[in-house]
């Protein structure tokens, strides 16, 4: 089996990396390319560049910074934010992005997943799911980049994961919104439930705050990768230290 992946996420607003708490109140962390380079140097296995306001603005991720990152970075990266058509995706893949991640546009038009998978292959189609635990079940939310626009999408999370992979999604990123930005640990219970229905690789997102959280999400929820933002942005620990720790826990990661 491939190594478990550590994936820093760069949330981008107006061309700068920002970090919010529970999807609200964003503050600027720094510039895109230097942060991307730092994470690559520390041993990140992949990056996600997420333009958090693209879906709300109605315009897809900026081409110029896709290319700037592709020139600089020699690890795979995914682009997320406001990609609604085959052309939007094609232009970003042509500039050097490896994967296209779709979230709100897939909820608006689930056929977009089929169309992207047929044209570019499932390996470059990631479906991001923003999910909230409510009343003992899990529900999908959309337009979460903007607190004013964020709302329930009217779908059960586990049903949506199954549908997305049946339509051709090659990877699922599950953002557990209750935990996002709290640094109190991944939502192991929700991720385990998702893992039971996911055949495609599942990536955990939301809640990482300590190295033990990564160990737990790999050991208990058996995810393929763990995505995190604020622990890395705030240098609470480095990716290289995290990997040494995971190796000491007998978890297979790339050195």
């Amino acid at each position: 089996m491939p190594a478990r992946r550590i994936i820093p996420c760069l949330d981008i607003r107006d061309g700068l990396v920002v970090k919010g708490v529970q999807f609200k109140g964003h503050e600027v962390v720094g510039e895109i390319a230097p942060l991307a380079r730092r994470y690559r140097d520390e041993g990140a296995d992949e990056l996600v560049l997420y333009d958090i306001t693209a879906s709300v603005r109605g315009a897809p991720v900026d081409l110029a910074w896709v290319e700037a990152v592709a020139r600089e970075i020699d690890i795979p990266f995914a682009i997320a934010g406001g990609i609604r058509s085959l052309d939007d995706a094609a232009r970003r893949l042509e500039r050097g992005a490896d994967k296209i991640s779709i979230n709100s546009p897939a909820l608006e038009n689930p056929g977009l997943i089929d169309a992207l998978a047929a044209r570019f292959g499932s390996q470059c189609v990631v479906v991001g799911v923003d999910s909230r635990a409510e009343d003992g079940d899990y529900f999908v939310h959309q337009y979460t980049g903007d607190p004013a626009a964020s709302r329930a999408a009217g779908r059960r999370t586990l049903d949506w994961i199954k549908e997305a992979q049946d339509r051709g999604a090659g990877e699922i990123v599950l953002n557990c919104m209750n935990e996002d930005g709290r640094r109190a640990g991944y939502d192991i219970r929700q991720l385990s439930a998702a893992r039971d229905v996911a055949r495609a690789p599942l990536i955990a997102s939301g809640g990482a705050g300590a190295m033990t959280h990564f160990r737990d999400v790999f050991e208990i929820a058996d995810v393929s990768g763990a995505l995190a933002a604020s622990v890395f942005h705030r240098s609470i620990f480095s990716i290289s230290d995290l990997k040494e720790y995971l190796i000491s826990c007998a978890i297979d990661v790339r050195r």
Partner: protein, 198 residues
């Protein structure tokens, strides 16, 4: 040094070209038979279906010049698979520069398919030029559903359910099933080895 990157409309060339630029090598794009004939060094990247890519190669008249070329050639991912005689994927006919047939990876019913992610490459031949200076067991980035079984040209193997050829080398012909342009420092070393191979 100039490297010609073959474009048959089946690959994302940008990341390969950027990787060459990071190594200080200039790249041009080869689309016509004449581009292949005058190339000093060729990289053949590929993503997508083997049958479609094989059809594009012959439709564009590139298969014969590639078979006849004496320039060092590096096939990447699907580009490496097409160096072989045939592929099970769509029953495609390859260039036949290396003996063998590419087959579907079988990692068991419950394993995800295709194989995607960072996997270890074990070196199987001492003195390989392509993997020179690469640590045995180094991780490389893979995205593929088919692979060539280990054979005479194999210089490194990886495992996904079963062992397959991760890298091959036969004279001036080289191939990587992984993506060196997306494999960090180890991948850069492989590309740099190819640029220096004669």
């Amino acid at each position: 040094m100039r490297v010609s990157v073959i474009d048959i409309g089946c690959a994302n060339l940008a990341s390969v070209i950027f990787a060459l630029e990071r190594l200080g090598a200039g790249a041009d794009i080869a689309r016509e038979p004449a581009d292949i004939a005058r190339a000093e060094r060729l990289i053949f990247p590929g993503v997508g279906s083997a049958a479609y890519a094989a059809e594009q190669l012959s439709k564009r008249g590139l298969a014969e010049p590639l078979r006849g070329s004496r320039a060092p050639l590096l096939g990447l991912c699907l580009g490496m698979q097409l160096l072989f005689e045939a592929s099970e994927e769509g029953d495609a006919t390859g260039l036949g520069l290396l003996p063998g047939r590419v087959a579907r990876l079988d990692a068991g019913e419950n394993a995800p398919w295709p194989h995607m992610g960072w996997s270890r490459v074990r070196k199987t031949r001492a003195g390989s030029r392509l993997l020179e200076g690469v640590e045995d067991g180094a991780f490389f980035y893979f995205v593929h559903g088919y692979a060539a079984p280990p054979g005479a040209a194999t210089i490194g193997v990886a495992e996904y359910g079963e062992a397959f050829s991760a890298a091959v080398e036969d004279g001036r012909r080289f191939g990587c099933q992984f993506h060196p342009e997306r494999s960090g420092a180890a991948g850069a070393r492989v590309l740099s080895n190819f640029l220096n191979a004669s």
